[in-house]
Point group: C2
């Protein structure tokens, strides 16, 4: 079965739970935005994803991208689907109208990308970096570069890449060696090799705009000597630039996206922003990209859930324990969904999907607020949310995508391990999301070491207070969330006090700390969802119950791991 977006579910979370529309309308940029428009966009997006993007997913995996005579050929149907995507104006959803975009909120774009990823992760990789490239160029590009490339990128007419990794420089970008040499005409000559370049070559758009991280002659060593250069596949005069895909990787999954080894041989490019400030310009792309990766995780898990849920409602095996289920009829065996172990798997994934959606959509809303609110203090608070929440959901949602898709595969028994049902593709595809745009371990270090501990936990504390204010302490569930928030604040202080005594401590417990934060986020989300849902609506009450029974117990475990690690360090230091 192909993925089927469900706009009603998303609308409930965006509007009833998060109050998106009034919050957005309060921003001058979206003064005309309303629920009707939002509903219409979601409805159309859902239809487009289901009818155009989802059907070519299977060929994307089974046929995949191929390198033919130095050119990447995408799987059957990908060109047409991408053309329809551009023609429908979907790539330009949140780009400014003056650049050819539709000027809609990031929150809607977030939903669109979640659905696209659920329906066809491979194809979605192609436009996945467009928005980041657009923002990067818009903020840091010269007027000339913007005139030449900005609207082409905003509309998706030309696709973009992010060329960071080199064979010896993955997580460690300071080691990048690709060189760029200034030319008298103001252009640069770029030479070097890059690996793991998603969409480094393809046949979806005529031109491809590479944003290449490189080093100018005599630049300082390390990450502070990196510059960003725009290198197009086709030069402005239409001739081919010396930027070539040498090889595409054989991967575990994501066969619908070409992962290219790129060779730049004195390729012509133009500097974006200041020399040696490339990493800063690139981080604009990376933060947007990290939110998108979190949404990929959510989408892929929802895709896995839809497959498993459908199978569990059609396959019969053995008698289920307990009262005779209504679905039994005269059948000798019960539906798989009646078996408690299967019910638990399915409800647990829904707990993750919908709780994560609330947090990810909230992050997208905060992006809109950070960009458009008139009050600098409000913008700052929104930026704080994005800085702290993005690594949390990037890591947690992608891990759950893989783990949860594997659980969903289990619902199929042996049938899950063969290609037929498409569930094993989700497991293979989703695995990469735990790695790219910064491995999940790096997200955890980013959160704890670079962000939370950098201000002694003040930012995290402020964020939690903000969330707490949206709870209703008179409700038992909400009070429980508040209690956990207090525990998290105390934990943060404990780490902040112990960390100076052992430089490794924070790095050792960063993953656990990130999980604690995510579990607080999810607990908050489910408290909000339960308050907003119709009482007794099983669509929301069952995942809420599953969350408390099967997901939330991890909170105490992680808390304990971090606490004991801190205590051990303190004991050693005082011994």
């Amino acid at each position: 079965m192909n993925y089927q977006p469900r706009p009603d579910d998303v609308g409930f979370l965006l509007n009833t739970v998060l109050g998106a529309v009034p919050r957005l309308r309060a921003l001058p940029a979206f003064a005309d935005f309303d629920e009707d428009l939002q509903g219409q966009v979601l409805e159309e997006a859902g239809k487009f994803v289901a009818e155009v993007i989802a059907p070519v997913n299977r060929d994307g995996d089974e046929i995949g991208c191929k390198l033919v005579d130095g050119q990447v050929v995408t799987p059957p149907g990908f060109r047409e689907a991408y053309r329809a995507f551009v023609d429908g104006g979907w790539p330009a959803l949140s780009a400014a109208t003056e650049d050819g975009g539709q000027g809609l909120p990031s929150a809607l774009e977030a939903v669109l990308y979640e659905w696209l990823s659920a329906a066809n992760h491979g194809l979605t990789m192609a436009p996945g970096l467009l928005h980041g490239a657009y923002e990067c160029l818009r903020h840091h590009g010269s007027d000339e570069l913007k005139a030449r490339y900005l609207s082409k990128i905003a509309t998706g007419e030309w696709l973009a890449t992010m060329c960071l990794t080199e064979a010896h420089a993955g997580s460690d970008l300071g080691q990048v060696r690709t060189r760029a040499v200034a030319q008298p005409d103001g252009s640069f000559r770029v030479s070097g090799g890059k690996i793991f370049i998603s969409g480094g070559d393809h046949d979806l758009s005529d031109n491809i705009v590479h944003l290449v991280l490189c080093r100018l002659p005599d630049a300082p060593a390390g990450p502070k000597g990196l510059s960003l250069v725009l290198v197009p596949k086709l030069l402005p005069d239409g001739t081919r630039n010396a930027a070539q895909c040498e090889r595409i990787e054989e991967k575990m999954g994501l066969h619908g996206s070409s992962t290219c080894v790129m060779r730049f041989d004195e390729a012509t490019g133009w500097l974006i922003g200041e020399p040696n400030r490339g990493l800063g310009a690139m981080f604009v792309m990376m933060n947007a990209a990290r939110l998108h990766v979190a949404l990929q995780g959510i989408g892929l898990l929802d895709a896995a859930w839809q497959k498993a849920d459908a199978y569990a409602h059609e396959r019969r095996q053995m008698r289920a324990p307990g009262p005779v289920p209504a679905s039994r009829g005269a059948e000798p065996a019960d539906l798989v969904v009646e078996h408690p172990a299967v019910r638990r798997i399915l409800d647990t994934q829904r707990a993750w999907i919908d709780g994560s959606r609330a947090i990810a959509y909230r992050t997208a809303l905060q992006l809109d607020i950070a960009r458009h609110d008139e009050d600098p203090k409000v913008r700052e608070a929104a930026q704080r949310w994005c800085a702290l929440a993005t690594p949390v959901i990037k890591a947690a949602c992608t891990q759950q995508a893989f783990m949860g898709a594997s659980e969903c595969l289990q619902v199929f028994g042996g049938h899950g391990y063969v290609r037929e049902w498409g569930i094993e593709q989700v497991v293979r595809d989703s695995r990469v999301t735990m790695i790219y745009e910064g491995t999940n371990e790096i997200q955890a270090i980013d959160l704890l070491v670079r962000k939370v501990l950098a201000d002694g936990g003040a930012g995290m504390s402020a964020l939690l207070i903000e969330l707490r204010d949206e709870l209703d302490a008179s409700r038992e569930t909400d009070a429980d969330v508040q209690r956990r928030m207090a525990q998290l604040r105390y934990l943060t202080t404990t780490i902040a006090m112990a960390a100076p005594q052992d430089a490794k401590l924070a790095y050792e417990v960063a993953d656990d700390y990130l999980r604690v934060v995510m579990l607080v986020f999810l607990a908050w989300a489910w408290a909000r969802i339960e308050r907003c849902a119709e009482p007794g609506d099983v669509r929301w009450s069952e995942p809420a119950a599953a969350f408390r029974r099967w997901v939330l117990p991890e909170f105490d475990m992680r808390l304990g791991i971090v606490k004991r690690a801190c205590e051990a360090v303190t004991r050693l230091a005082t011994a």
Copy 2:
């Protein structure tokens, strides 16, 4: 890199920790067995696995099995490797000498299969069922059948399959429809379709012996109407039987093993054991097979660890926090292994591998004791161990194989997601072990519902007392294990009391209960290992510490989940 068995590690666990040799020598069947012989077999097995089995693993995945003109062709090198396996006498390791076997303990066979699986899971599937088929035929076959097939199977000259699953009957074997009709000459005509038959066809041995679960005319419905029929690929007169592989599955992994759709069209066969008692005869195979699957899990995790450990000692990325590591030298970046998150991943997997080995090898020893001890009470206790421990290690070791291989993949960053290093193959291959021979959810139900609760927890309690007697309560670590054992006993009682009030309860918490048991097993194993290892030997002390820091905290979490579920049921019942 190819898998490299390490006989010293295994020897330490078998001898120093488990005291295998004296225990085995006390059995009349192994009176001549000694440490020298054991050391020699392990040394030779290690060499054989590294030199013959491991090198063809990659082609097994990348080229895989193909169906050509109705015959399965195995990957390049598989025929030769299997021939060497037979010629070396390895399939017959634990088979009786009168059947052409070597009469060695199951414990050694367990180690051999762990290593084989680590080196080449696909190829190992072929002889993986030999031992089960041998035991089944030996115990239930007629003299005529035994004369014709037993030594061929014992020596691996002919391979065997287990034909259970049908398209509509996976976990639910009661629904099997394949029919067998008695003929005047005492043979049977077998007709029907089977799916997911590992090695249903191949070119590794001339003949293939299928043990087919089927239904005689007028047999009772359900599992009590199943019979077991031996259907050879080649009939005794050398002609081809009507047992045909129709298709092989496209799978997520394990491409080196053919997963066949089999068609039996009035194929000739002979009944094994009594009519309608087929399931019982087959269970002899399945219990041995489940231990082997646990060992596959352990082997695959060790293979993943070896790859990640080697990569982490060669790849450099970023500066590690904390004191300057000796490995830094003049390099601008530190070895990946110096980063705490990587260290944690590697040590945690070792904690699982070596702890699980101790439990799995103990189970294999108990198999030897259950078969050969002169005292029926001792045999009974050994059988109890096998019955209770087998589902635990089948489920827990296979889940950790997949999860842990995925963690090991993470050590490689983006390089782990591409084929080059072979780590993603381990993730794909290992996934099936959570499904076959009874899904892990079914193992958990088997443990809790069918075994533990069936006697009110008495068997589990006796098993724990047996383990407790091997601890030294004067040591802090050992006392902690005893405390957890007491908690597990109390938990068992709690479930036993609550279960009658809600038929679903035990099914809902079976997975958590199984994890609690496994964590107690592992805690016991590491307490024993620590007591036996040289003080300060980091080979054992570091995984021991990792076990306590990162693995054991799950114990309280699982305990809490089960407890709360029981309390909720009891509250409802008394409300």
